[in-house]
Symmetry: C2
Subunit: 217 residues, 2 copies
């Protein structure tokens, strides 16, 4: 009933946007269930993936079809495959695995800030709590230091090679708000003459200390 | 550092999707604050919109810039304008206003079903409660009947004209799971010889009864 060239109003963007929280939850569930790792291991059909993930075949089929629509997997007949991006960032066996970041990105603290968005707009700033995430020793930064490190594994290596390509001179690095500490650690691993001073809350520095010792954080 | 023609993996889709709940919340806040109605009334700058919406100018500026990125408004210098779609569906003065739908689409009952998405996939069905939204007399359908009617105002009119263009013969309409009742009401308004039998839970039919009497639901 529409004429070509005449733009008809459509509520599509409204419905797509108001329901976009469902994309967050579906992706979070797929990571939690290790769907991407399962496909990466060679499980291809809904039945195979369901068995590996301890889930219902019906649930996996519906979830994987949605992941396909969102662009995280492809589907060929009844078989699902990882995209290049999902194989790199969402398969647990990949060194660039980002799935652990959801622990920080989906932390109740961060989500809370969006729960009453209108109040934040009225106030012109975070309405969730008095000081938000900048309160001294706020535990969210420990979660950050633990969960967000994988994201910076590759960039920190690349930066080190750019800034200190010779790696044979004395170098003093001041790492302010060091967080996971990956940048300082990369510099120190690249060059034995590097001295790093990492500044952060004591509880965050503790995560780095463990990481430098090669311990699980 | 990338060669043309060689696809580099990117975590962009991961970050965009995992944070897409923020789009839901921003749009909900804009509707709640009546930002679209304010712009529709001619308030154009962040300061003017903020004054009309009882919000901080900073909050409104950041929100409106995000709405612009999402495609709900346009920005010309410091002045915001509604898109064709937003003027039609998100300005309260429009007869096709859809903002009220958020009462249903964002109802705790529906959101709850997505809170533990992984559990639903494991089970292969809704994990939120035993019967979900199909429990007899479930109050969600009262919310539905009240909030979702505007969406069907135009389609119900169009359907009526298609099915009963003469509007001069006796016609009996059986409206199963009638909900907001708009389809039956449209048929009855189109043709005085129409008899409608609407079937739904009693609490839902009550909403229709009020609507037929022209009362506020």
């Amino acid at each position: 009933m529409s004429s070509p060239g005449i733009q008809q109003p459509t509520p599509q963007l409204f419905f797509q946007t108001i329901n976009s929280y469902q994309r967050t939850e579906a992706l979070k569930a797929a990571i939690e269930l290790e769907v991407f790792s399962a496909i990466g291991e060679g499980k291809a059909t809904a039945r195979e993936i369901a068995e590996r993930c301890g889930a219902a075949e019906r649930g996996i089929r519906i979830l994987c079809d949605f992941l396909c629509i969102m662009g995280f997997v492809t589907k060929d007949g009844q078989r699902y495959n990882l995209t290049l991006d999902s194989a790199m960032f969402l398969d647990k066996r990949s060194p660039a695995y980002l799935g652990g970041c959801t622990e920080f990105l989906m932390s109740p603290m961060l989500l809370e800030g969006f729960k009453n968005f209108a109040a934040a707009v009225r106030k012109g700033g975070t309405a969730a709590s008095e000081e938000g995430t900048i309160a001294p020793d706020h535990p969210i930064w420990v979660t950050f230091a633990r969960a967000m490190a994988p994201m910076m594994a590759l960039p920190s290596q690349l930066l080190t090679k750019l800034v200190d390509p010779q790696a044979n001179k004395k170098l003093k690095i001041l790492d302010i708000a060091a967080g996971h500490g990956l940048y300082g650690i990369a510099f120190a691993q690249n060059n034995p003459h590097v001295e790093v001073v990492a500044v952060d809350w004591p509880n965050v520095l503790e995560v780095q200390r463990k990481r430098r010792q090669g311990r699980r954080v």
